[in-house]
Amino acid sequence: MAEYVRQMPETVGSLTGSRSSATRFNIDLPLLFLLLLLTAYGMFVLYSASGKDGTAVLRQGRFFIVGYLVMFAAAQVGPMRWSRWSPWAYLFGVALLVAVALFGVGAKGAQRWLNLGGFRFQPSEVMKLAVPMTIAWYLGQRILPPRPRYIVACLLLIAIPCGLILRQPDLGTSLLIAASGLFGVFMAGIGWRFIVGSLMVTVASAWPAWMFLLEDYQKQRILTMFSPESDKLGAGWNIIQSKTAIGSGGWSGKGWTDGTQSQLDFLPESHTDFIIAVLAEEFGLRGVLVLLAIYVLILLRAFLIGLHAKSSYGRILSGSIALTFFVYIFVNMGMVAGLLPVVGVPLPLVSAGGTSVVTLMAGFGLLMAVSAEKRVVDQ
C-alpha cells in the first residue's frame, strides 16, 4: 500500500487538469492515448491496404467507434461486478457454442457462426473474454498459489469451450482461447512443477495430435510454413508473397500507398490478416518498429495496471488480457513473416474487421475498470 501512496503524487501532479473528468468515467488516459495512436496508425495502413478505398476505412472507423463505446461502457462497471458476471458470461458463451454446433451456419467447411436475423455472430469471440474472466473469477476467490484440484477445475473450464471450438473446426481460435485461460492460471501463481509437466505433456502429445487430431488443411498450413517453395502457386503463394512484401520494404519502405506487392494484388488478404505485410512494405522496418513500440507501451501499461490492481480478480484478468493481446501480435506477425503456420489471427486493432475490434476494446475496457478500482480505493 505504501508503495502506491508514494507514487500517487507524482502521477497526479502532472495530469491533474484533465484527470478529473477522465477519472470520473474510469478512463485510463495513457492507455486511451496509446489505443488512439494505434487505431489511427491502423486506419492509415488500412486505407492503403484496401486499395485506397475510403469506404473501407470509414467502415473500420465505425467499428472503432463501436469499440471505444464498448470499452467506455465496460470501464464503468466495477471489477467486483465483472467478477460476479463472469461465470454467467461463461455459461452463456458455452450455450452459444453448443447452439453453433447444432444450428450454426458454415463457410469454407467450418461451422462457426450463428445467424441472428441477418446478423452473423461468432460465439467463440465471446469466449475470448469469458474464459480469462472466469478463470480470474474462479481463482480470484482462492488462496493463491492455487491448489492442484483448483488447477484441474480451471483446466476443465478451459477445455469445454476449447473443445467445442476445435470441433467447428477452428484450431487457431481454440488455441488462443486456451492460451488466454492458461495465462490466467499462470499469473495466479501456478507451481513450476505444473508448468514444466504440462510443457512436457504438450511436446509429447505433438505427434499423436499430428496423427489423429489435425485436419489435412491444418497439416498443410504447417508444412507450407516450413517449405513455402514446395507449392509456389498453391498454399505457399501467400507466404512467399507476404515475405516478399515485407522484405522488399527494407528499412524505410516504399512509401504510403506505393507498396507494389499490396497495390498490385500480389499480397493475399492484404487488408485483414496480412496487413502487417502492407505496413512493412510501405513503411519499412522503421514502421514495423514504431508499431511494435506502440504495442509494447500498451503491454507495459496493461502489466502496470495488473501490478497495481486491488483484487486478485483484477490482477489475474489484467495479466491474461495483456498476454493474450501479445499472443495475437506475435502469432499474426510471426505467421505473416513465415515464422508460424498460417492461422486466422488478425493483427490487433490494425486488421480490418469488426468482431475482433469489439472484443479487444471490451478487454481494454475491463483493464480500465481494473485500473479505476485501484484509484477508487487509493482515494
Binding site: I143, L144, P145, R147, F183, F186, M187, G189, L233, Q241, K243, T244, A245, I246, G247, S248, G249, G250, W251, T260, Q261, L264, D265, F266, A280, G284, L285, V288, L289, L292, V296, L299, L300, F303, G306, L307, S312, R315, G319, A322, L323, F326, F330, M333, G334, A337, G338, L339
Partner: protein
C-alpha cells in the same frame, strides 16, 4: 475448512503476481526480439533478394518481336509477307486444371492429338508465365467461341501475331525456302534473347540463308502487371527493329511461266541473268505449299510429301545431281580449241562408234541407234556441237585426257559449289584421276575419259551449275557467281566475280556458232523449236542416261519403265548477240532433250517477248 477460513495473504499474492509479471514480461520481450530479428532478417539482411523478387513480380519484361523482312521479286511482287494470325495459348501458371482446360478447349475448337502432344513438349520447356501456344491460325468463328468462354477458362489467351505467309506457295517454295517453328536444336543454337517472342525461324532456302537480316532486332517493353497478369501500364519501351526487306533477282512472271511449263513433270529450270549472275527463275517440280510448314506441318501432310516417289521436298535446282550429258560439249570444244587439240577445220571420221587404240570395245554414238551410221563421214566442230556428235568428242576427250578436261570444266563452275545464296546446295562430281583415287580408291581407266567427254560416267552436275556454265558461255567467259538477292534493304548485292574463262574470241565465236546451229541449223538437235522464233539463241541439248546400257543392247524408250528413261537436258542463252538470259532445263525421265527444249523456249520467250501481252 482450514483453507477456506485462512485469509488471503494479499502481500504474498502481490509478490507472486509481481514475479509472474516479471517473468511474463521477460518472455514477451524475448519473443518480441524474435519478431524484430525476423523482420530485420527479411527487411535488412535479405532486402536485396526480396526487393528483386518484388520487382520481378511487378515488372515484366515483354519482348516485342520484330517484323520479319518481306521478300519481293525484282519488280516488287510480294513473295513472302506477314499476316496477322491468331494463336490459342495457355499461361500454365494461371490454369486451374490443365487437363480439364484442354478438354474444354477441345470441345470449342478442333485440336488434334498431335497438337496437344507438341503443346506439352513446349510446356515442358517454357519460361514461367510464358504463353504456350496450343493451336495456331484460329479462324474468326473459333476466336469468337473462345472469347465467349474465356471467363470460365482462366489462363487461356488468344495471341495475335504476324506470321509468314507465301502468297505464291508452290511456285516459289524451292526458291524461297520457308520458315517454321523453332525446334529444340535451333533453340540451342540461336541467341535466345534475340528470339524472345519470336516462334519462327528460316528453315531452308533464302529464309534460312538470310535469317539474320530478315529477323530484325527484338524490342522490349517493361510493363507493370498485377498478380493476374494484367498489364497496368508500360514503363519503358524499346521498339523492335524490323528485318530488312529483300528484293530478289527472281522474276515472278518468269518463275510462274517456268513452273507452269514444267507442270506434271519432275524437273528443274534455272534461269540466270548472265550480266549479273542474278537468278531470274529457280523452279523445281513437283513442289509443295510452303505455307504448310510455317506452323508445323501435320504428320499426314508431311508423310505424303516425304513418301512421294516424286520427292517434292527435294530442290532439284541445287540438290539434284544429274549427268550433264552432251551439254558439256560446248565447254569441251572451247577447251580443245584453247589447248590446240582441234580447230574449226579439224574433222573426225564418224562411223557411228569410236574405239580406243588397242581396245576392241566400241563406244557408240547416240545417232547409231537411229540411223545405223554416224552423223557424217567426217564431222567438224560446228556439226559436232549442232548435231551433238559423240564420236568427235570421244576423240577430243581421249587426246585431252581427263585431268585437263577436269581443269577446263571446273572453270565453268562444274563440280563445286556455285556460291549461290541459298542452302543445301550440292557440289556434283567432276571426275579426275585424283578424284577417283580418293573417292573410289581406283585408278582411272582410259574408257572412262570417253564417257566423261560426253558428260556421262561419273560426272554429275546440278541444274544450277549448268545454268551458271551457260551464263559463262553467254558472256564469253565472265563468271558471276549466281545470286538470288538483288537488294538487301538499301544495299545492292552483287555476286562475286570468279576468274574469267579466258579464250580467243575466235574460239568463242566457233563454239557459240555451233550452239546457234543447235536450234537454227538445218540439222540442229533442237531445230524443232526454231519455228517462229524472232530472236536467236545459242544452246545445247543433252541426254543423261539413267541406266547403263550393255555393250550390245539397244536403248528402247518404249520398253523401259518410265522412271528408267533418260533425263532430258537443255541449256541455252539468248539473244546470241547480247545475251540477257541463260537457262538450264532438266526433265527427269523425259526420254531425251526434246522434253526439255520446248520448256526453255517458253521461258526465254517469256523473258524476251512475253512482257507485251
Amino acid at each position: 475448512m482450514a483453507s477456506r477460513i485462512a485469509l488471503k495473504d494479499a502481500q504474498r499474492e502481490q509478490n507472486i503476481y509481481g514475479a509472474r509479471t516479471l517473468l511474463a514480461m521477460l518472455v514477451v520481450f524475448s519473443l518480441l526480439l524474435v519478431l524484430v530479428a525476423r523482420y530485420y532478417t527479411l527487411q535488412i539482411r535479405d532486402y536485396e533478394t526480396y526487393s528483386t523478387a518484388s520487382e520481378r513480380n511487378r515488372v515484366q519484361l515483354q519482348p516485342l518481336p520484330p517484323k520479319r523482312g518481306l521478300i519481293f521479286d525484282r519488280n516488287g511482287v510480294l513473295l513472302a509477307d506477314n499476316r496477322p494470325s491468331y494463336t490459342l495459348a495457355l499461361i500454365i501458371e494461371r490454369v486451374e486444371e490443365l487437363d480439364a482446360t484442354l478438354a474444354s478447349l477441345r470441345e470449342l475448337v478442333v485440336i488434334e492429338a498431335s497438337e496437344v502432344e507438341k503443346f506439352r513438349e513446349r510446356a515442358a520447356r517454357r519460361r514461367p508465365y510464358e504463353h504456350v501456344p496450343l493451336r495456331f491460325r484460329l479462324n474468326d468463328k473459333e476466336q469468337a467461341r473462345i472469347a465467349v468462354n474465356r471467363h470460365r477458362l482462366p489462363g487461356v489467351v488468344v495471341d495475335a501475331q504476324l506470321q509468314r505467309h507465301y502468297p505464291h506457295g508452290a511456285t516459289f517454295a524451292h526458291a524461297l525456302g520457308y520458315v517454321g517453328r523453332i525446334n529444340e536444336q535451333e533453340a540451342q543454337e540461336i541467341d535466345g534473347a534475340d528470339y524472345r517472342g519470336t516462334f519462327h525461324i528460316g528453315k531452308i532456302g533464302i529464309e534460312k540463308r538470310y535469317e539474320s537480316v530478315l529477323h530484325g532486332e527484338v524490342g522490349y517493353q517493361t510493363v507493370e502487371t498485377d498478380a493476374h497478369g494484367r498489364v497496368l501500364r508500360v514503363l519503358e519501351r524499346f521498339d523492335p527493329q524490323p528485318g530488312e526487306d529483300l528484293v530478289l533477282h527472281l522474276d515472278y512472271e518468269l518463275q510462274r511461266t517456268a513452273h507452269n511449263a514444267l507442270a506434271g513433270r519432275r524437273g528443274a529450270v534455272v534461269a540466270i541473268d548472265p550480266l549479273t549472275g542474278g537468278v531470274l527463275a529457280m523452279v523445281s517440280t513437283p513442289s509443295f505449299d510452303s505455307n504448310l510448314f510455317v506452323n508445323g506441318i501435320s504428320n499426314r501432310d508431311y508423310s505424303a510429301l516425304r513418301d512421294s516417289l516424286d520427292v517434292p521436298l527435294f530442290n532439284r535446282t541445287v540438290q539434284g545431281q544429274y549427268p550433264p550429258g552432251s551439254t558439256v560439249k560446248p565447254m569441251m570444244a572451247l577447251a580443245g580449241l584453247t589447248e590446240g587439240l582441234i580447230d574449226e577445220e579439224f574433222t573426225v571420221p564418224d562411223p557411228g562408234w569410236y574405239r580406243l587404240p588397242g581396245d576392241r570395245r566400241r563406244y557408240r554414238d547416240w545417232i547409231l541407234r537411229i540411223r545405223g551410221t554416224g552423223h557424217a563421214p567426217h564431222v567438224n566442230l560446228n556439226m559436232a556441237i549442232a548435231e551433238s556428235c559423240d564420236v568427235y568428242f570421244y576423240d577430243l576427250a581421249r587426246r585431252m585426257t581427263i585431268d585437263t578436261m577436269h581443269d577446263y570444266l571446273a572453270r565453268f563452275g562444274l563440280g563445286g559449289p556455285s556460291g549461290i545464296d541459298t542452302t543445301a546446295e550440292r557440289r556434283g562430281v567432276l571426275p579426275s584421276t585424283a578424284w577417283k583415287r580418293s573417292a573410289l580408291g581406283q585408278p582411272w581407266y582410259p574408257g572412262e575419259t570417253l564417257s566423261a567427254g560426253i558428260g556421262q560416267g561419273y560426272m554429275l552436275t546440278t541444274p544450277l551449275q549448268l545454268a551458271v556454265a551457260t551464263s559463262v558461255l553467254a558472256t564469253r567467259g565472265e563468271f558471276h557467281e549466281p545470286l538470288l538477292v538483288q537488294w538487301l534493304g538499301q544495299e545492292r548485292q552483287s555476286g562475286a566475280l570468279r576468274d574469267a574463262v579466258v579464250a580467243d574470241s575466235g574460239h568463242w565465236d566457233a563454239v557459240i556458232e555451233g550452239m546457234r546451229a543447235v536450234v537454227h541449223g538445218k540439222r540442229g538437235t533442237a531445230r524443232a523449236i526454231s519455228r517462229n522464233m524472232t530472236y536467236e539463241m545459242a544452246s545445247k541439248t543433252g541426254t543423261a542416261q539413267v541406266i547403263g546400257i550393255a555393250q550390245d543392247a539397244v536403248y528402247d524408250e518404249d520398253a523401259i519403265d518410265e522412271r528408267h528413261r533418260n533425263h532430258g537436258l537443255f541449256i541455252a542463252f539468248a539473244p546470241i548477240e547480247a545475251p540477257t538470259i541463260a537457262v538450264a532445263v532438266i526433265v527427269e525421265n523425259g526420254g531425251g532433250s526434246s522434253a526439255a527444249y520446248p520448256i526453255a523456249r517458253t521461258v526465254i520467250d517469256n523473258w524476251l517477248l512475253g512482257r507485251a501481252g
